[in-house]
């Protein structure tokens, strides 16, 4: 048992080290872009995981939160010249509040009714922003190019800075989730996921905890919105509230495996490069073959690997554990 834990820990440490050091040697911007997308979606996947994996409310409308967050910071910046980092925090807080408010009615729903309600929410928000003159309506907002640097949250010569900001976000959220997993909050979340009615009978205020989960998840997703806004320096409803963002987030979680910390990171680290590389490789033929492969890939995952990659990891772990035990038994004999 201990041996397995130790190898896992060593592997994890290697992973962290690799994620920090290797990118320093990557000079190709396109690869840097893929790295940025990987960390961004890893964070988004974790945020999804809080409601989807731990509380068991499947959301396919995270783009609603993502878009709101991106608009909060961009609007503050364009209209009032507020520093994007303050906008980043504001995006987190306002989106969390927004998540809480829409959560009030929506958390009553279960299963696919909830899932479809989140799709509906995403679509409604998109239409509202498309018609809201104040924030540029369908034209969106352009963030002026400024001096590059950490203070302005804009980098032009390299994308690595974005990557490291994303990595720090990911680190913080991982620490938070580790803490959450061991706290009362985490147990309550899981209790609600396993059986809502029983949890409620045990005296857990399920509505309150669901709302907490949604608010946290929305807040983090909103901050990611700011991140993408600063990355592309442009926000537009069609772009920030895109249904594909919601779907990709959910797919990453499924692919990686839900209800644990590592899943979404693994999912993002494998799914996004595949999507980007197939496009770069075959997208220019214009035949849709890259998206065909992507679609087929998703189907194959759902059919053959429905527990996600973490399912594979767990299987390997179980097998090594068995081998270790067998080896011990052998030694004892």
């Amino acid at each position: 048992m201990k041996d397995v834990d130790r190898t896992t820990k060593i592997l994890l440490a290697c992973g962290v080290l690799a994620a920090t050091i290797i990118p320093l040697f990557i000079k190709a911007r396109f690869l840097q872009h893929i790295l940025v997308m990987v960390v961004l979606y890893a964070v988004l996947g974790e945020a999804w995981n809080i409601i989807g994996g731990y509380v068991g409310l499947v959301s396919i409308g995270q783009a609603a939160f993502f878009g709101v967050g991106s608009y909060v910071s961009s609007y503050l910046f364009v209209e009032y010249g507020v520093n994007p980092w303050i906008g980043f925090i504001a995006a987190g807080l306002i989106t969390a509040l927004f998540g809480f408010l829409v959560g009030l009615p929506v958390t009553r729903l279960r299963g696919r009714y909830f899932a479809i309600a989140t799709i509906a929410l995403g679509q409604v928000m998109k239409v509202l922003f498309e018609n809201w003159e104040r924030v540029g309506a369908a034209t969106g907002l352009m963030l002026p190019l400024g001096k590059e640097g950490l203070v302005n949250f804009q980098f032009h010569t390299s994308k690595l800075q974005y990557y490291y900001i994303g990595l720090v976000m990911l680190g913080i959220i991982i620490l938070f989730m580790r803490h959450m997993e061991k706290s009362r909050l985490g147990y309550y979340f899981k209790a609600i996921r396993e059986n809502e009615d029983v949890a409620s009978a045990m005296g857990i205020n399920r509505t309150a905890y669901k709302l907490i989960a949604i608010a946290i998840s929305a807040g983090i997703t909103g901050m990611c919105g700011t991140f993408l806004a600063q990355y592309s320096l442009y926000v537009e409803p069609e772009y920030m509230f895109n249904h594909n963002i919601s779907v990709t987030i959910a797919l990453i979680a499924v692919f990686g495996g839900t209800g644990n910390i590592l899943g979404p990171i693994l999912g993002s680290a494998i799914l996004l490069p595949i999507s980007e590389l197939t496009r770069a490789w075959m997208g220019s033929t214009g035949t849709g073959i890259d998206m065909m492969i992507y679609g087929a890939f998703i189907v194959l995952i759902c059919v053959y690997q429905p527990e996600g990659l973490m399912g594979v990891v767990r299987n390997i772990q179980a097998r090594t554990k068995a081998q270790v035990q067998q080896a011990r038994r052998g030694a004892n004999v």
Binding site: G52, V58, I60, P105, V106, R108, L109, R110, G111, R112, Y113, A115, I116, A117, I119, A120, L121, Q123, V124, V127, L128, E130, N131, V247, A250, L251, A253, V254, T258, G286, T287, G288, I289, D290, M291, M292, Y294, G295, A296, F297, I298, V299, L300, I301, C302, V303, P306, E307
Partner: protein
């Protein structure tokens, strides 16, 4: 003016309804939310188009054939993909059809290019004036077809042995299996039947609507909301939900502003499920 809008909404709703009923049937029996339903409609539209192009059958006349073809297509898809995830976790069941949809849409682009196509010289075309209201003949035909299919499904599910067995599965899978019902086979039939509905819808649409790889997406999404609105698992509910959505879209779009019409549709869904968390006529598990 409002009469015209309501009639337009009604016709549109019937077409959504045809797509929605298949969706609801599939859900009711095996608990799969089929996000690829719009893509199935698209496949059926292309099938009608090619039949028309090469053999010269009008899409509305070929609709039974298309429905039959789509039935087999559905059975194959069920046994190749859907049946294998039924026992899997909720998320895999929810997302497998997303993948299927992306795959089918891009397959169509690969095979038939992204060009827009339209059936030439359909039999049913033109406009009839009924009092002060303009009615498009092909839309009227599609709506009538939709009601006929609704009647057929009603009859099938309630009066035939297979239909009753399918109903038994959706009520209690375990008990049905104990009573000797071959669940795997019947699931396949039910999925095929759902696809046949999409097939009929596609054939009717092909009579008057243009065809391109992404054409089904919006129909699929609206139908999904219609099903959820009517309550998952209830085909009657799906039809009612769809008609309601059609009317909200046209009348509501006219009154509030057409740029908001899809927001209204989704908002209506949110309001209804908040009041009735299982939709208008929904039952069964979540």
């Amino acid at each position: 003016m409002y009469l015209q809008l309501t009639v337009g909404g009604l016709l549109l709703g019937c077409i959504y309804g045809l797509v929605a009923m298949g969706l609801s049937l599939i859900y009711g029996v095996m608990g799969i939310v089929n996000f690829a339903h719009g893509a199935f409609v698209m496949v059926a539209m292309y099938a009608s188009f090619w039949l028309n192009r090469f053999i010269g059958i009008d899409p509305i006349l070929s609709s039974p054939l298309i429905a039959l073809l789509m039935f087999f297509f559905g059975v194959i898809v069920y046994h190749a993909v859907i049946g294998k995830v039924l026992e899997g976790p909720f998320l895999a069941r929810l997302l497998v059809t997303f993948g299927l949809s992306i795959f089918l849409i891009n397959c169509a682009q690969f095979l038939w290019s992204p060009d827009y196509r339209m059936v030439e010289n359909p039999i049913f075309r033109g406009i009839r004036m009924v009092g002060p209201v303009f009615i498009e003949v092909p839309k009227l035909m599609a709506s009538i077809g939709s009601l006929i299919v609704a009647g057929l499904i009603y009859w099938f599910v309630r009066k035939t042995k297979t239909g009753l067995a399918i109903q038994a599965i959706s009520l209690d899978r375990m008990a049905a299996s104990l009573m000797g019902i071959d669940i795997e086979r019947l699931n396949g039939y039910a999925f095929g039947l759902g696809c046949a509905c999409a097939g009929a819808a596609g054939a009717f649409l092909a009579e008057f609507y243009y065809i391109f790889p992404d054409v089904g997406t919006m129909f699929g999404l609206v139908a999904l909301v219609a099903v959820a609105l009517g309550g998952f698992g209830s085909t009657e509910g799906a039809l009612i939900g769809a008609i309601l959505i059609g009317i909200i879209e046209t009348v509501g779009g006219f009154m509030v502003g057409s740029e908001f019409k899809y927001a209204l549709v989704f908002l209506a869904y949110l309001v209804i499920v908040i009041v009735r968390p299982r939709g208008l006529l929904g039952w069964g598990a979540d």
